[in-house]
């Protein structure tokens, strides 16, 4: 990743900064898609007899999204705890503040 000449980190190159930003965008997109799929599946019947979201479906989606975030957070904590238990050195992984 760095250390052209083995000494120092020669700035995180802008190509690298771009790559990191892109990866984060990809994770957010992926999560959004998974959330949408999961909550449409849990809350909206597939027979499509009406085109509007009715009130019950809307409320269900709100709660579903909220629980999805909770699960994300919970799993992020579990993975961080496990990484620490394994004695992972350094700042540890775990997806940001997810």
């Amino acid at each position: 990743m760095s250390g052209m000449f083995g000494f120092g980190r020669p700035q995180p190159s802008s190509a690298e900064k771009i790559a990191a930003a892109e990866q984060e965008m990809d994770l957010v997109t992926d999560m959004f898609n998974k959330l949408q799929q999961a909550c449409m599946k849990k809350c909206v019947p597939k027979d499509y007899r009406e085109g509007e979201l009715n009130k019950g479906e809307g409320v269900c989606i709100d709660r579903c999204a909220s629980k999805f975030f909770d699960v994300q957070m919970k799993i992020s904590e579990l993975l961080q705890a496990e990484a620490q238990a394994k004695g992972a050195t350094g700042g540890g992984f775990g997806v940001g503040g997810l």
Partner: protein, 88 residues
Amino acid sequence: DGLTAAEQREFQSRMERKQMKEFMGMFSGLVNHCFESCIDDFTTKSLVQRETGCVTRCVKKFMAGSERIGQRFQEQQAQMMQQPPPGR
């Protein structure tokens, strides 16, 4: 910050490609979902009226759901920005 003009242009063009890719992914997911949900009669070669109606409602409902989920998603992202990550 710190990007040359050429790099900025490159970055922007990659972001545009990414957005295009996301749009295409959404489109193909929507086609897939509404096809799966609405089409089950293979005695005809063209859509029958019932199927066309179902697809139309499916798209409408999908967009409405998508928008609503998008709002929740943004609220949550904003909230996360304010709180520092736990356990650091």
